[in-house]
């Protein structure tokens, strides 16, 4: 028995290697090749519209970018978008998870309705919000405002970034709700009951029992949303095209403009490197957090 096990282990090592090889190799290539190319291009003079201008540029692209106010606006917008959506979805998602955990008639259907936006493709949700909800004259929101005697809001011209935040938050609030609701279901009812017996009110129960229980789920929500929110693209592409001016241009959109509209590969790559660095600063903390969570 021990013999076969020992033998199995050595063979297992080889097997492990060969079984994992395809996935690991592909992901390694997927990570390293474009990354190396991005870094390389970012140090080059490389504009598809000016093929005669080539050669090593050193840090010139970065210097241009860093002195261009557009980069700082885009960075600010990126962080504002991520921050605002995270706050809305985590706080809102937690409250909604508590609400939808309560028993009431039709709870199952209500839950399904509330998590639905997460499954809607971003281009669809952006267009529906832009045209049918936030349209300045025929949109539902302006109709509601007018029926209360309030002036209609021209969302995308007067509150461009806020409009994007609303759309993105609408898409991701259901995600937070879905995860947190699942987490809250594993909350020990006896513990809650015991606390109630000891005279704890609903607020105390929320802060001292529910919230600590949700800690891990909240950290997972923040991590996953961060990955996706840092690179929000379709919502901006479809609604405002980054405008008016640079009001809704985030890092993803800025790189898109430089790469595919201005054909400046060198600049776009430098922007890409900055995006990667920004994501990694965030990731270092997050991966560590998840790793810790997985151990416990």
């Amino acid at each position: 028995m021990t013999k076969t096990r020992a033998a199995g282990r050595t063979v297992g090592g080889l097997r492990t290697l060969s079984l994992q090889a395809p996935a690991v190799t592909l992901l390694l290539l997927w990570m390293i090749v474009p990354l190396a190319m991005t870094v390389w291009f970012s140090l080059q003079r490389y504009n598809l519209l000016m093929p005669e201008m080539t050669g090593f540029a050193g840090l010139e692209n970065y210097r241009y970018l860093f002195t261009d106010p557009a980069l700082w606006t885009a960075m600010g917008n990126t962080l504002l978008l991520v921050g605002a959506v995270l706050v809305i979805t985590v706080v809102g998602g937690t409250l909604l998870a508590v609400l939808f955990q309560q028993e009431f008639p039709g709870r199952g259907v209500a839950r399904v309705l509330a998590i639905s936006p997460f499954f809607v493709m971003p281009t669809v949700s952006a267009l529906v919000w832009k045209n049918m909800m936030m349209h300045p004259s025929n949109g539902v929101l302006s109709w509601v405002a007018e029926s209360f005697g309030l002036p209609a809001v021209d969302w995308f011209s007067s509150l461009p970034l806020t409009s994007i935040i609303i759309i993105v938050a609408w898409q991701w609030l259901p995600f937070a709700l879905l995860i947190l609701l699942t987490a809250i279901q594993s909350l020990d009812e006896d513990q809650v009951e015991a606390a109630r017996m000891d005279g704890a009110g609903p607020v105390a129960i929320f802060f001292f029992i529910t919230l600590p229980h949700l800690k891990r789920a909240i950290s997972v929500v923040i991590m996953i949303e961060m990955i996706f929110l840092l690179t929000i693209f379709a919502e901006i592409f479809v609604t405002t095209s980054g405008g008016p001016g640079l009001a809704t241009t985030n890092l993803a959109y800025l790189i898109y403009i430089q790469a595919l509209l201005d054909f400046d590969v060198g600049m776009a790559s430098a922007g890409g490197v900055i995006a990667i660095i920004l994501a990694n600063i965030v990731a270092i903390f997050l991966v560590r957090m998840v790793a810790k969570n997985l151990e416990s």
Partner: protein
């Protein structure tokens, strides 16, 4: 009447003696609380769902009714659906979506199953590190590598091809698919596979005849999540495709141009684009949470 009354009295009395702390809220307020909860829960659910509901509704209006003041009263028509259906290119985009979403899912599953199998059943010291590293590739923002991928695709002729999108989506979903399969495989009792191995099953037989049938629900929901993510993906599809291989995400985006603003048709097309995925999502929400959170939330 009197018996009923005594009965109620008896039960409340019994309850009071059973619970040491007397309930502060009498029955009536519990009922109001429940009613309030019901109303609040439903109001919020309907509010969140409203844009989707409105979109579906608008799809059944005429263009004139769609652009008019919001109204729930109108005579429903299928003309927008007919118009969208009648445009041959809609079917082309839909077909692209189907091919790309299912193709990339199939590829990701084929690559991920052996890998997840070995991680779950033949773990080594490096397994956890490998899993975390795979997750970390998701941290690489697509914008950061858009330029090289675009140029590579241009040079090898993969730009605006389904094959190109399948490759990108497969790699994009691979870490999540591996993680999700890993969490499902790990739940399987080891003895079952051990028994198969004792009976002389090869790795391939073990996987095909034991592992796959036993974890079919998990594999199915992993596949569905991958289909959903690929179906809804918009960054790569907008940047790597134009006319030939564009999936529905890109098709819908084309409605954002001023000349394409037909609300009823947009709504009908959107409804047709999201309906299958919405239903998939509803059906697999539970398992999806495990996949999306890498099993960290149960």
């Amino acid at each position: 009447m009197t018996t009923a009354k005594t009965k109620t009295l008896a039960t409340t009395g019994g309850q009071a003696s059973a619970t040491p702390v007397p309930r502060t809220s009498p029955r009536g307020s519990a009922r109001t609380r429940r009613l309030g909860l019901t109303l609040l829960g439903w109001a919020i659910a309907c509010l969140i769902f409203f844009p989707i509901f409105w979109m579906v509704l608008t799809g059944f209006k005429t263009e004139a009714a769609a652009i008019a003041d919001p109204s729930l009263i109108f005579s429903p028509t299928l003309e927008s659906y007919a118009a969208v259906q009648g445009r041959a290119d809609y079917l082309k985009f839909a077909l692209n979506s189907v091919v790309v979403a299912f193709g990339s899912t199939l590829a990701a599953l084929l690559i991920a199953i052996p890998s997840a199998y070995s991680m779950a059943f033949l773990p080594t010291k490096r397994t956890k590190g490998t899993l975390l590293w795979m997750l970390s590739t998701k941290m690489l923002p697509p914008v950061g590598v858009l330029v090289p991928i675009y140029l590579l695709f241009r040079d090898v002729g993969l730009l605006d091809t389904r094959t190109g999108l399948v490759i990108v989506y497969t790699l994009m979903n691979l870490p999540i698919v591996v993680w999700m399969l890993y969490t499902f495989f790990k739940d399987l009792p080891k003895d079952i596979l051990e028994a198969g191995r004792m009976d002389g099953a090869s790795t391939l037989q073990e996987v095909v005849f034991l592992l796959l049938p036993l974890t079919l629900p998990g594999i199915a929901s992993t596949g569905l999540l991958s289909v959903i993510l690929s179906w809804n993906e918009a960054f790569w599809s907008l940047n790597l495709t134009s006319s030939k291989a564009a999936p529905l995400t890109a098709y819908i985006a084309s409605f954002s141009s001023p000349e394409g603003l037909f609300w009823a048709k947009l709504s009908a097309a959107s409804t047709m684009a999201i309906a299958p995925i919405l239903v998939f999502g509803w059906l697999t929400q539970k398992q999806m949470v495990r996949g999306l959170t890498f099993g960290a939330v149960k």
